[in-house]
Symmetry: C2
């Protein structure tokens, strides 16, 4: 009488006991409501009591599913990184595999679009950890964050093998920077041994530029001084891609 369950998501056993299924469902409901409260009332508007109230139960009951408000926030942060990673990967997959240029362009635009369509989420993911202890265990989010970054790693790797741009003078890389860049390349997995540190520096530099524009836009500084930051993002995108030897096209088509 046990109906076979379709596998949903990554790494999930297909056979779950009824209990595990309903448990999974209520946990999903908790996270969904928390997520909605986050976008509707900001990060401080997420409360266990409010979630429980909306679910028709009491706050202590939620402790059967989540070990506290911090863990809940960390969990939905991981989900959001997963979602962002999916959005970017989907954008990347929507253009022909060989067209590296447009794949990069589309993926980066997808990143910004997702960010401005999910400002509250972005603030939690990429802003300061305001509500959590500094020493909280955020490992669940890191895995998803890596998956998000992986898309750009592989695209950047293609630029390298195609020798699209000339690496900067290695004299610019101080010993300290060299050490940090190697640490970065090593711990992000994509450090195929052939990748020079200058390339890692270029990647980091480009990422910093686009991250900066998006942060400015989402965190809503400049809003008094500039009404729309999309033209600025496109301008930065243009010059960044030019430095990388990637063809730019205006967003219209």
């Amino acid at each position: 009488m046990t109906k076979p369950q379709v596998a949903r998501g990554r790494a999930e056993q297909s056979t779950l006991s009824r209990r595990e299924r309903v448990r999974e469902a209520t946990l999903a409901e908790i996270k969904a409501i928390a997520r909605r409260h986050l976008v509707e009332h900001g990060p401080s508007g997420v409360s266990l009591r409010a979630i429980a109230r909306e679910m028709g139960m009491t706050a202590p009951g939620l402790y059967r599913y989540v070990s506290g408000i911090d863990a809940l926030l960390i969990a939905i942060t991981a989900d959001m990184f997963d979602e962002l990673a999916d959005a970017v990967a989907a954008a990347d997959a929507s253009v022909p595999d060989e067209d590296t240029d447009r794949r990069i362009l589309t993926s980066l635009r997808a990143f910004r679009s997702w960010a401005i369509d999910h400002r509250s989420e972005f603030a939690v993911m990429f802003g300061p950890r305001a509500r959590l202890d500094p020493n909280a265990d955020i490992t669940p989010g890191l895995e998803a964050a890596r998956r998000f970054a992986a898309t750009f790693y592989t695209l950047f790797d293609r630029l390298l093998v195609e020798r699209r741009f000339t690496l900067p003078d290695s004299g610019h890389v101080t010993p300290e920077l060299d050490r940090e860049l190697r640490s970065f390349a090593e711990s992000c997995g994509f450090s195929a041994p052939h990748i020079p540190v200058e390339a890692v520096m270029v990647l980091t530099s480009c990422w910093v530029r686009l991250y900066g524009v998006v942060c400015m836009e989402v965190f809503d500084h400049m809003s008094i001084v500039m009404s729309d930051l999309e033209p600025l993002f496109e301008s930065e995108l243009h010059t960044v891609l030019a430095d990388l030897g990637v063809r730019y096209e205006p967003p219209g088509g």
Copy 2:
């Protein structure tokens, strides 16, 4: 019998009644304690009740000085911008007036130094407005923020009149970007009529780059992947200044 008061800070009457003086003092104490709680326990650790407790009074008493927790946060944010502006201006003033290159270098390094020495403050100032209503009145902070930016405006203006760098091709500036840049130049006061929009774009682009690195560092992303972001900041500073035709020197001397 009224002792003459020395004028402290900007725009403060020298003669204050005794009552006004003690009132000013307790308000300063409130803000000082709030500030300390901010750096010690994060943004969510600032509470009126805790401040009152530490001052030996009760929370409702604070409402004689501050209209609520939001107004208090806005007030200390304004103070922090003032402090940052002072720090940057002091750094700028610490080098000979004619040495534009080193003035820029020193001012920008002072910005980063202040940021990493005051991470919690920076998060409140430049991060997402997590705890405030989106429609809160933050005008007190804007004035101080302008004063902070002014230092860089004047330095950048000197680069322009000295023609240190060639302006980018105006073909890169789309009509939409042109509109935003003019809006920016106009509302930041520094739009002397002779300043071309291409120059405003260069300024914005440079600012975005350095803002991005500092945000990354203060918000503590990358911490798993890079232990120290100063080399990266210096690298960005190097290339940014190179684009501006400004002489770079390593931080040591």
